[in-house]
């Protein structure tokens, strides 16, 4: 048993989960800054994003060091590859939280509107996806990751409905197009966060089973000899 190598893998997992926690917090703060139209909360999102960016660099460096110095194989190799990809996804989640916070700042400066979209419900769905994806990474459970994949279509439907409602409002109330556009961009950012949660879940499935479930391929528990593999 290579204890130094195992320690490196454990450390990498811990750092990525910490970063996941920061990304989750950034989403919550961004949603709160929208709900309360609170600039101070938006500012906290910007600060979190800087920390997330720093984490991304650290995790990349740790993963590259492990690849170069320990030459991981099989499940360990898949783990490090998954970490590298999840790392990039979490960094994008941080960017999208910033986008939401910026739109919230814009909205705070404009006259209030009657928003025809349940942003709180959408935020709850998206946050749940991110949390479950990170739980599946923590536990290495493919079935938890699979459940995340199945939630993505719900968020997609929410975004489509929001688009239809917001465009209708823009037509009937053109003076407030700017505010409606801000809300539309928020729903788009939330939907993209859900896509990144989906990517994370797919990477967890790849790590635990070696199966490639990207682009709607299914994951079945246990080794599936016919499942396509990533090269």
């Amino acid at each position: 048993m290579r204890s130094r190598f195992q320690h490196g893998l454990d450390e990498l997992k811990e750092r990525l989960l910490e970063m996941g926690g920061m990304a989750e917090a950034a989403i919550e703060l961004a949603a709160e800054s929208y709900r309360k139209r609170d600039g101070r909360l938006a500012q906290q999102v910007f600060e979190r994003e800087k920390m997330i960016n720093q984490s991304e660099r650290n995790i990349d460096e740790m993963a590259v060091d492990l690849l170069a110095m320990q030459q991981p194989m099989a499940t360990d190799l898949r783990f490090v590859l998954a970490v590298l990809k999840i790392n990039a996804d979490l960094e994008r989640v941080g960017d999208l939280a910033v986008n939401i916070a910026q739109r919230s700042l814009d909205l705070a400066e404009e006259p209030e509107i009657d928003v025809p979209v349940d942003i709180a419900r959408m935020t709850t769905a998206v946050s749940t996806m991110v949390r479950r994806a990170l739980e599946s990474f923590l536990s290495g459970k493919g079935d938890v990751a699979q459940a995340v994949l199945e939630m993505d279509s719900i968020v997609d439907r929410m975004k489509d409905e929001a688009f239809i409602n917001l465009v209708a409002q823009m037509k009937s109330d053109p003076e407030k197009v700017r505010q409606y556009l801000d809300v539309l961009l928020i729903t788009r950012s939330l939907e993209r966060i859900a896509d990144h949660a989906t990517n994370i879940a797919e990477d967890v499935i790849f790590w635990v089973s070696g199966a490639d479930v990207r682009h709607n391929a299914r994951y079945s528990q246990g080794p599936d000899p016919d499942a396509p593999r990533r090269q």
């Binding site: 048993m1 190598f5 030459q71 194989m73 099989a74 190799l77 898949r78 070696g210 080794p223 090269q231």
Partner: protein
């Protein structure tokens, strides 16, 4: 051209100790196959069974069959020396004939097989040394320098040239790079990759990265059994058997 190998129900013993148990494997022609596993797992014995080297050890015996191309290696009446001419072998430690010149090292096998015409020998020596990527380095000192005067990496390539000179169909390599530095190792690995165009190669290695770099297929041996045999990329990224997984991730034992 290289030939395929088919091993059926192979069991091997040293005295009463069974070192190979019910090995069944088919190896494709013109491909590189790596054999990996911990020390004592039977991987070297396995390749020594392919060219009848196993039986040269006192108290060693085996059962089962080995087919190399159209040759039934253990058919009664077959001459072991003929088997070894058709199946070349390269060992862990380069073993050139120390007092012979480079030229004589490469041509020795041909001479033993009755080739004596100077022009034929010259052509075979040059061809073999070129195949072994050694010609440019030794062409001016072929008869002046002995095999043992070369560097370790050059000596190993000389041994490969010597094996190639008798035009084998299969080349067995038993940890051919374990005594070499990374540059010489790189040259041998490049050579192995090129050899598969004309030969079938089976290589035993302790170095899993080397297996991953050079082999099309890899077999994992453990305690005399072939645990898993698959395409190299599959075996090293998503092995099927937990014992393989534990070995290649360093969690073995």
């Amino acid at each position: 051209m290289g030939v395929g190998i088919e091993v059926k129900d192979l069991n091997a013993w040293f005295g009463k100790a069974q070192v190979l148990k019910e090995i069944n494997i088919k190896v494709g022609a013109n491909a590189v196959t790596a054999v990996i596993g911990p020390s004592g797992c039977g991987k070297s014995t396995f390749i020594r069974c392919l060219n009848r080297m196993h039986e040269t050890i006192p108290e060693a015996r085996l059962t089962g069959s080995v087919q190399v191309g159209d040759m039934d290696v253990y058919r009664p009446g077959i001459v072991p020396a003929d088997v070894r001419r058709r199946i070349g072998m390269v060992f862990q430690k380069p073993n050139p004939f120390p007092t012979m010149s480079i030229y004589d090292n490469v041509s020795a096998g041909l001479r033993l097989n009755g080739y004596n015409k100077r022009r034929e020998l010259d052509a075979a020596v040059e061809h073999s040394l070129r195949m072994a990527a050694l010609w440019d380095e030794v062409k001016d000192v072929l008869k002046k320098k002995s095999g043992s005067s070369l560097s370790g990496g050059q000596q190993q390539r000389l041994c490969i040239a010597r094996a190639l000179a008798v035009q084998p169909e299969l080349i067995l390599m038993d940890e051919p790079c374990s005594a070499l530095d990374p540059i010489s190792t790189g040259k041998i690995e490049e050579l192995i990759f090129q050899l598969k165009a004309q030969y079938t190669v089976v290589i035993v290695t302790h170095n899993m990265q080397q297996a991953a770099r050079v082999a099309d297929h890899t077999g994992f041996f453990l305690m005399g059994k072939l645990i898993e045999y698959d395409k190299t990329e599959k075996l090293f990224t998503a092995p099927t058997d937990k014992r393989t997984e534990d070995y290649i991730t360093g969690r073995f034992g």
